[in-house]
């Protein structure tokens, strides 16, 4: 699904990623953990095509295709989805209109007809139920005045609507109370299949109680310094990131 080889990236003169290698196969859930400033969000932004970062070396393949030169929308059309840590507010554009535009632009790019309005409404209804989203919420301006939890739930709602091949959840757990966390995780688990893959980026182990990863990677100082199974997350929780830092400095 996703194959990253020796990825180096910088913003301005500052090198943030210093040679990342990552293989994610369909049907897998990968967690990327690490202390603040390790480069977790940078990695997710680069996979999604954020042009603020410069890829100085390395390659990114999605299903065998080099996507490094594609615009963010082109990557989205190929099935890359990034759930933002800080979703953006867009006043005057309702959740429904936004997602409708999003879906139809994606369909257009893939040479499909626009989704008929009645079908769209049905899908919206089904997916909003999955995430326990109130219908009234859908006619509100996108993310405007939403609580942290509502914003995150709305991100996963969009993910449910778009059915991406590769979903990257960037700190989706931050700002969520325990109930919202459960709803979001439950939604993500229901969307999971052997056809898609999920990368969960998180600082804490908490979310991984609900979304159980097949692999856990620890990112530190722009590199993946440790990889393992779900138990690695527990070990990190117990020992803290100093453990990694100390190990690296030795």
């Amino acid at each position: 699904m996703l194959s990253i080889k020796n990825l180096h990236a910088s913003i301005g003169d500052k090198e943030i990623l210093k040679g990342i290698n990552l293989e994610v196969k369909a049907g897998e859930i990968h967690a990327i953990m690490g202390p603040n400033g390790a480069g977790k969000s940078t990695l997710s932004a680069i996979i999604a095509g954020n042009e603020n970062y410069e890829v100085t070396e390395g390659e990114i393949f999605l299903e065998g295709e080099d996507i490094a030169d594609l615009a963010p929308e082109e990557r989205a059309h190929k099935g890359v989805f990034l759930s933002f840590q800080y979703p953006v507010e867009i006043p005057g554009v309702s959740v429904t209109n936004f997602i409708r535009t999003s879906i139809n632009e994606t369909r257009k790019a893939n040479n499909l007809e626009e989704m008929p309005a009645n079908e769209m409404l049905k899908v919206i209804r089904d997916k909003s139920e999955l995430l326990e989203i109130d219908r009234k919420f859908l006619s509100r301006s996108l993310n405007e005045g939403f609580s942290g939890g509502e914003k995150k739930r709305n991100e996963i709602f969009q993910m449910a609507m778009l059915e991406p091949k590769l979903a990257i959840l960037d700190e989706t757990d931050s700002g969520l109370d325990i109930d919202a966390l459960r709803i979001v995780a439950n939604g993500v688990n229901k969307l999971k299949s052997d056809k898609n893959a999920i990368i969960v980026i998180t600082h804490y182990q908490r979310l991984l109680d609900y979304i159980v990863p097949d692999f856990v990677h620890v990112l530190y100082n722009g590199k993946i310094v440790k990889s393992g199974d779900a138990s690695l997350a527990l070990e990190l929780e117990e020992k803290g990131y100093d453990w990694i830092k100390n190990e690296q400095e030795v």
Binding site: A45, A48, G49, N50, E51, N52, A71, P72, E73, R75, A76, H77, V80, F81, L82, F84, Y86, P87, V88, I90, P91, G92, V93, N97, F98, R100, T101, S102, I103, N104, E105, T106, A109, E114, Q158, L162
Partner: protein, 438 residues
């Protein structure tokens, strides 16, 4: 001959054409003298620092159109709010078109300034209101007053809820190589009455036009007036709009200005308060490109206690376009408990676009709430990335962001069909077709 001389010498000929015995003779004479003394404003004047009329005034404008021109409704239908029924006052090259208009005297007067100025039955209203709030020192207003003869005359008696919006349309046909038109509008809204008015100037061909318009609006006690100005003209059209609003106690007057086109547009918008608990709203959206120029020059004169004014102007400038926002709030010593707010947000889409923003607050009362906020920026890159990430191409994403940026002002439009129209114009302007109506 320079335009100024041409105008001054045309004045006599003009007065001969109309009723020289009119009481207005003295008023017009004073006005032309003031214009003769002051001339057209130049960049040396503080109020015109960022707007030069020089290139516009080089045209050899005809002051009086030679021929009466007619237009087929089908050709101009799109400029009207044709989805709903409206009262209509339509002028072609400054001349009233009875064919395209729908006037009324049924309980309200929606008719011509030329009849109001000449017929005895309107004399009382003209005596009480005509040229009473317009600034007699200002040279362009004086120029208009000197030649004031035609325009919209709207008189709503007290306690009338006007059932449908009034559209005032000025078309220019380009039958003259270059045309100067000077419409003069008078709007009087009686106690407890409510009216919605839409004004639009539209050039139908590429010949240069200069419109120097004066509108006086009087809101009597507790009247509500929603006034919309649509400026979406071609690149040879120039508009100087001088609007003066007089508000009695507990009135609520909104003037919304949508500036989407024209070569040079200057909006002089002035509000004066004559009572307590008045609300004044001044909203604007400016979206221009090419070498277009739009200058908003606003004044809210707070003279009485417990009044509010709200200004919200959004501007989006691309290419080599230039914008000016000069917003003056004047709070007199007596005007305690004033709430006066001003917002001016601008987005520059090109390195060559310019905005000059100048808030001016002069406050002489000590118990007031006044604020102003001015921002100049680019489109939010994070928001663009967010939308692109969801599969929305950059161009459409930009359009959505710009729409979102101007949304607060769009939301203030109280006529649904007009709101629809404005959003369509914006979408066209931004060159996008979205899967839903903006």
């Amino acid at each position: 001959m320079e335009l100024k001389e041409k105008l001054v010498s045309s004045f006599m000929a003009f007065e001969e054409r109309i009723d020289v015995n009119s009481d207005l003779h003295e008023l017009r004479t004073l006005a032309i003298k003031n214009f003769e003394n002051k001339g057209f404003p130049t960049k040396k004047e503080e109020a015109w620092k960022y707007t030069s009329l020089n290139s516009v005034l080089k045209n050899d404008f005809s002051v009086f159109p030679k021929n009466e021109n007619s237009i087929e409704f089908a050709d101009v239908k799109k400029y009207f709010l044709h989805e709903i029924d409206t009262h209509k006052l339509v002028f072609i090259d400054g001349v009233f078109s009875s064919f395209l208009s729908a006037t009324t005297h049924d309980g309200i007067d929606v008719c011509l300034m030329s009849s109001a100025l000449n017929k005895p039955k309107y004399k009382l209203v003209i005596d009480n209101y005509f040229n009473k709030i317009a600034n007699k020192d200002e040279s362009l207003t004086s120029l208009n007053t000197a030649f004031a003869n035609e325009g919209a005359y709207i008189n709503i008696p007290k306690s009338k809820l006007v059932d449908k919006p009034i559209e005032i349309m000025y078309f220019s046909t380009g039958s003259e190589a270059a045309l100067l038109v000077q419409p003069r509008n008078l709007v009087v809204v009686g106690e407890n009455s409510h009216v919605q008015i839409i004004e639009r100037h539209q050039s139908l061909n590429e010949n240069p036009v200069l419109t120097n318009s004066v509108t006086e609006i009087f809101a009597e006690k507790r009247a509500i007036i929603d006034y919309y100005k649509i400026q979406n003209d071609n690149l040879e059209a120039n508009l100087i709009d001088n609007t003066y609003v007089s508000q009695q106690k507990e009135t609520n007057v909104s003037v919304n200005t949508f500036s989407f086109g024209g070569n040079l547009t200057r909006n002089n918008l002035n509000f004066y308060h004559f009572g307590e608990r008045i609300v004044s709203n001044l909203n604007g959206i400016t979206i221009i490109g090419d070498k277009q120029h739009v200058d908003h020059y606003t004044l809210v004169q707070h003279s009485t206690p417990n009044c509010e004014s709200h200004q919200d102007y959004k501007g989006i400038f691309s290419d080599k376009s230039t914008g000016v926002f000069n917003g003056k709030i004047y709070v007199e010593r007596e005007a305690q408990k004033t709430n006066a707010f001003q917002k001016n947000n601008n987005i520059l889409l090109s390195d060559k676009a310019t905005i000059n923003a100048k808030p001016q607050l002069e406050i002489f009362a000590d118990d007031v709430k006044c604020s102003h906020g001015c921002t100049i920026g680019q489109l939010d890159e994070t928001a663009l990335f967010y939308m692109q990430q969801r599969g929305i191409p950059k161009k459409e994403a930009k359009a959505l962001l710009m729409y979102a940026f101007s949304n607060a002002v769009i939301e203030s439009i109280k006529i649904p069909e007009l709101k629809q129209r404005i959003t369509t114009i914006i979408a066209t302007k931004l060159g996008v077709k979205l899967g839903f109506d903006l």
